[in-house]
């Protein structure tokens, strides 16, 4: 399905060094529009580092990242977000003491009026913007879990892990990004919860047009079910790519996972 289309995200010889440790080694990777790409590999193979370099949390040591045709290498995290890339985190980074609504609005930063005058003085205009955003957020949450949408003003700390993951994904989606980076969404959840969450992701994909997703995941069942294509990393290098079935058959991949010499 890749054909001749232009990739949405492409890394070209991307490298990242921490001191002497090579976390990403000349990585070439392409993600095409509307694709769900699985990023897999053993612990420490550089998957999360890839996300962090793409989103500007770490500067790249070498190489280039292009997004939608533009060079985004070493842009600030803020600029990457504005360009249309949103993400979730491996360890849930919601603000637990804030409400669901607050957390989702954090993800909506670029679409909210941040002016001092608007926020402090023009309270009527603020009220309209607030109501509009509330409706939008509620609709989005409803897609995942309708009961959750009735509890928008409760603190996140009171919800179970699966709801927190949903909220985190809503936070990443509310600003209508072109590319969503999901970092191990199933971490810390039971098998049933994971299945539920995968269904949710499908629902979202159906609802939101032109959404491209890169997902890091250890649960191979998840990868098998939802991805169109997979890339396998080991020691910061791409060792294999293709559909899940292709990748699973690859001897190098089996070695990397099983540690067979």
């Amino acid at each position: 399905m890749t054909g001749n289309r232009k990739p949405l995200l492409a890394s070209d010889g991307l490298s990242k060094l921490f001191g002497g440790v090579v976390a990403l080694d000349q990585l070439d990777l392409e993600v095409f529009p509307n694709q769900i790409l699985g990023l897999i590999g053993p612990n420490g193979s550089g998957k999360t580092t890839f996300f962090n370099v793409v989103t500007g949390i770490y500067p790249a040591s070498g190489g280039q990242v292009k997004f939608d045709g533009a060079d985004i290498t070493n842009l600030s995290t803020q600029a990457v977000y504005r360009a249309g890339i949103s993400r979730t985190f491996q360890r849930s980074r919601l603000s637990l003491s804030l409400s669901i609504f607050d957390n989702i609005m954090i993800g909506n930063h670029k679409r909210l009026n941040q002016g001092l005058w608007f926020n402090l003085v023009r309270r009527d205009a603020f009220r309209r913007e607030f109501e509009q955003n509330f409706e939008e957020a509620r609709e989005l949450v409803q897609v995942f879990d309708p009961p959750l949408a009735e509890r928008m003003f409760e603190a996140v700390s009171g919800f179970p892990m699966i709801d927190r993951r949903r909220i985190e994904i809503c936070r990443a989606l509310i600003s209508r990004p072109k590319l969503l980076l999901l970092d191990e969404p199933s971490a810390g959840m039971t098998h049933e919860e994971t299945t539920e969450l995968m269904d949710d992701i499908f629902k979202v994909k159906e609802r939101v047009e032109d959404l491209t997703i890169v997902i890091i995941e250890h649960e191979m069942g998840v990868i098998e079910r939802i991805t169109d294509a997979c890339v396998v990393l080991n020691f910061g290098q791409k060792i294999c790519e293709g559909t899940y079935q292709e990748v699973a058959q690859d001897s190098q991949v089996q070695e990397a996972y099983l540690g067979v010499e």
Partner: protein
């Protein structure tokens, strides 16, 4: 809607406010040490009982719905207390001091209550406001209302020298920056003779459009009210603005930004939040409020000296914010009243008051780490409900 239907839902709140007002008046009237101690015990028990039987929750619910009513009631309460003690200078000085401290702490609340920008030099920024007022009132003819603002501006300006280290450092490291600044400021004032040195400076009383704040208010032949009433009124007006300002910050996207930044800088930055911009905003606005409070304080007290602005004084300000319930402006008010009025009234504890104060803070941090009045979740528009 009939008056009754309008009033009934508010009743728990009104009763509570009236009760607290009467309690504060009693506390201020009673002089016998045993009486005060008994009142304090009674107060603690009353609060515990109210919490146990859900009365406190009902009152809280009323105020959460109608916080305009709460604001109004508090202003009424302060005016009632002021009216009751209209010629008692000392009591009114305490009331005015509480008001001014609350303004200063609102500034700190903006800084570390919302934004997580630590500031252990609160007393220093307060002091900058004080010294600005002293210099301007003595040496220039700047109108005194402008002096107030100048105190705030000066604090914000001098604070901006610290911006670079404050922006670059985190948690403990930034604590050291402000602690060092606080100590430096005090030592500088002590050794620098042009600002009065250790002896401090006299400050002129406030004068707005010919109205001398430091003269008692005389109406007719027989009525004379303490001059501190002037400062209470001005203090209340300034506090009203400061309070509304801080409230609106909290109830807007800005407040959300500040919270997001405090709770997780990395995540906030990943969603486009410009950490530098909001840290500068919070730090500068906070210092402005603290400095403004300082300027008013200096004009009221008429005398300032470096020993007012020690590390210990900064700690008291920080304690107030934490004890009250970090991030909750109403918590500040309660904590300030406790920290200023109780030791003043309980003279018997004189020598022991620092010990007891410190012990009290430790107990509260251990058993109620979220403070006396924990901060509720954000409501963007009070009383608003989803359709």
């Amino acid at each position: 809607m009939s008056a009754r239907a309008w009033l009934v839902p508010l009743l728990p709140g009104i009763v509570a406010a009236a009760g607290v007002t009467v309690y504060v008046i009693l506390l201020l009237v009673v002089e016998s040490q045993v009486g005060i101690a008994a009142l304090l015990v009674a107060g603690v028990i009353a609060v515990l009982v109210a919490a146990r039987f859900g009365a406190a929750a009902r009152v809280g619910a009323v105020f959460a719905e109608r916080d305009d009513i709460l604001n109004l009631l508090v202003i009424l309460a302060v005016l009632t207390v002021t009216g009751f003690f209209y010629e008692d200078h000392f009591v009114l000085l305490m009331v005015a001091t509480v008001i001014i401290y609350v303004i200063a702490c609102l500034g700190l609340n903006l800084q570390f209550g919302y934004s997580g920008v630590l500031n252990f030099a609160g007393a220093a920024f307060f002091g900058i406001g004080c010294y600005t007022a002293a210099v301007l009132t003595k040496n220039t003819g700047v109108p005194h209302l402008v002096v107030l603002v100048a105190g705030g501006v000066m604090a914000a300006l001098i604070g901006s020298f610290l911006l670079l280290p404050v922006l670059r450092t985190h948690s403990h490291y930034s604590a050291v920056v402000t602690i060092a600044f606080g100590l430096l400021f005090k030592i500088f004032l002590e050794v620098n003779d042009t600002l009065g040195g250790p002896q401090g400076l006299r400050v002129d009383g406030m004068n707005v459009l010919g109205w001398e704040f430091n003269d008692n208010i005389e109406i007719g032949e027989n009525f004379e009210a303490s001059f501190y009433v002037n400062y209470i009124v001005v203090g209340l007006i300034v506090l009203g603005f400061a309070f509304a300002f801080v409230r609106r910050v909290e109830r807007s996207w800005i407040g959300l930004n500040l919270d997001a930044m405090r709770l997780d800088e990395t995540a906030a930055a990943s969603f486009g939040l410009n950490i530098t911009r909001w840290k500068i905003t919070a730090f500068t606005l906070g210092n402005f409020l603290t400095g403004l409070a300082g300027a008013l304080f200096a004009m009221m007290l008429g005398f300032i000296a470096p020993t007012n602005f020690t590390f210990g004084d900064s700690l008291i300000l920080v304690s107030i914010v934490l004890l009250g319930g970090i991030g909750n402006p109403w918590g500040l008010v309660v904590a300030t009243v406790m920290l200023i009025i109780v030791p003043e009234k309980l003279q018997a504890i004189q020598e022991y008051r620092f010990l007891l104060f410190a012990a009290m803070v430790i107990l509260i941090l251990l058993f109620r780490p979220e403070g006396l009045l924990p901060r509720p979740l954000r409501t963007y528009i009070p009383g608003w409900k989803p359709k």
